[in-house]
């Protein structure tokens, strides 16, 4: 049975109008979802952030170019020629993808950046040790009243005491790493907390700790 033309016409207009109305609503929703997050400062409409969600620092670790005005060198051997200490870079950790020393020769510091198949991106910072084991442990002591990351004392495989800091994987820019003293150097292995675990940090600290200087 064929419906009268005016009914067919009404149905077509109804469907067309309904689709248009839905489109407008969907578009409006999309506009809301895509709006810039920083546009406003209305004090009463914005939900408060919690301290646990926000980094309290505007400056973060850079796992690509870690140093201020750093000199990128082609190899660890080249770095060794420019430093007053022998770098530690065990073959078991793989080859660093970049080797950095400060542009200012007076500062004695080495940063090795790695991209490891298992551990992902991490970095090792080596400096001459100027403190004591007590100074190292002081990092943990001053976190007794609370730090952004969890700081604790751990033992490496050779029995030496090290400091472990564990960042939250969900807070942007937090890191996880280990600091310890090794043959006159202070070493610090660290990676982004989102991808670099406590176990990875400890495993690598043990590799570097058992290695001989280059």
């Amino acid at each position: 049975m064929r419906l009268p033309d005016y009914i067919i016409g009404f149905g077509r207009r109804h469907v067309f109008s309904s689709v248009l109305a839905c489109t407008v609503v969907v578009a409006g929703t999309a506009v809301v979802l895509a709006r810039p997050a920083h546009r406003s400062s209305a004090p009463t409409t914005r939900p408060a952030a919690t301290a646990a969600e926000e980094s309290n620092s505007a400056e973060h670790v850079d796992f690509d170019q870690p140093l201020l005005a750093g000199r990128k060198l082609p190899s660890v051997a080249e770095a060794a020629a420019n430093l007053p200490f022998r770098p530690v870079a065990p073959a078991a950790a793989g080859q660093p993808i970049s080797v950095w020393i400060p542009a200012q020769a007076r500062q004695h510091l080495l940063a090795l950046v790695y991209q490891h198949p298992s551990y992902g991106r991490f970095m090792v910072i080596e400096v001459p040790n100027v403190g004591t084991q007590q100074d190292l442990e002081g990092l943990v002591a001053q976190c007794a009243t609370g730090c952004e990351e969890a700081w604790s004392l751990v033992h490496l495989e050779d029995g030496s005491e090290a400091v472990l800091f564990e960042g939250s994987p969900t807070i942007p820019h937090e890191t996880t790493g280990v600091i310890w003293i090794h043959n006159g150097l202070a070493l610090n292995v660290l990676g982004p907390a989102a991808s670099f675990s406590r176990d990875a940090a400890l495993a690598l600290a043990n590799r570097f700790n058992s290695a001989n200087a280059a």
């Binding site: 109305a21 409006g28 810039p36 408060a48 001053q142």
Partner: protein, 266 residues
């Protein structure tokens, strides 16, 4: 019959038109509301962050490393950010004197910060020190008005971080209110194994808060614990890009101002 049917259908069509008109009106209202919401005061709602931004200017030392930094810094009420609450206790804005250890995310600093008063009414100020190894560490804070009376809007004071002579990786913080009573001790932080770097001044803020301030009489301390005026100042790092665009403006070799949409970006 047709007429009746037509009138009947006609009535239904009129009802349908009314319904469609209402649907259109609703849709338009929803759309308009969405646009207003998006562009207007509610724009920064859910999903907005409370990110901290900073402007870092460094002192030139003629190639020597700094073991301490000292800045005379102004203080103004610049809090305008709704993401700061008494509950989250985040800082809204602030300024520091600092030693940066050469590795990004490694530093010690002392200065002031503005925050939401715990009473929920008004803006409060406190002195603080912060240390970071691997990008974050912790803050020591004090809102003790008796001990640090000059942390108030409209004032200026000298803030310093100083590496200890006997224990190089320990840094002491001081506040000099310039009231004739000398340095007021803040606290001591352990930065092992870092002890030498670069003297800096920093301005920081979150979102809608401001940070227009002056850092002057910039000084750095050498390895013999002697203080020297900065030989020059330059932008070292700046995370405040558009739409905020706060920068440092060099005024002299020992002074920079934190300004918006002017100065030098980096």
């Amino acid at each position: 019959m047709h007429g009746i049917e037509r009138r009947g259908v006609g009535r239904r069509r009129n009802v349908g038109r009314t319904g469609l008109t209402s649907a259109w009106l609703l849709a338009v209202v929803v759309f308009a509301g969405a646009v207003v919401y998006s562009l207007g005061p509610g724009a920064a709602r859910a999903g907005a962050s409370c990110t901290e931004y900073g402007v870092f200017w460094q002192m030139s030392t003629g190639g020597l490393l700094a073991y301490g930094a000292k800045n005379e810094i102004t203080l103004h009420d610049q809090y305008a950010d709704p993401c700061i609450t008494p509950d989250n206790d985040l800082n809204a804005s602030g300024q520091t004197a600092r030693v940066f250890f050469g590795v990004k995310g490694y530093y010690v600093e002392a200065g002031w910060q503005e925050y939401a008063c715990s009473s929920g009414v008004g803006h409060c100020f406190r002195s603080f020190m912060e240390w970071a190894i691997g990008g974050s560490g912790a803050q020591w804070r004090s809102a003790n008005r008796h001990k640090y009376p000059c942390v108030n809007p409209g004032t200026q004071a000298i803030w310093s971080v100083i590496g200890e002579a006997a224990r190089a990786t320990s840094f002491d913080g001081y506040l000099n209110c310039e009231d004739g009573r000398g340095e007021r001790y803040l606290t001591t932080l352990d930065l092992y194994p870092y002890y030498q770097g670069y003297g800096e001044g920093e301005g920081f803020f979150r979102e809608a808060s401001a940070m227009a301030e002056t850092h002057q009489n910039l000084q750095w301390m050498d390895s013999a614990r002697a203080w020297h005026p900065s030989l020059d100042v330059f932008c070292r790092y700046d995370t405040s890009k558009a739409p905020y665009n706060w920068n440092g403006l060099k005024v002299s070799a020992t002074r920079f101002d934190v300004v918006q949409n002017a100065g030098t970006d980096c």
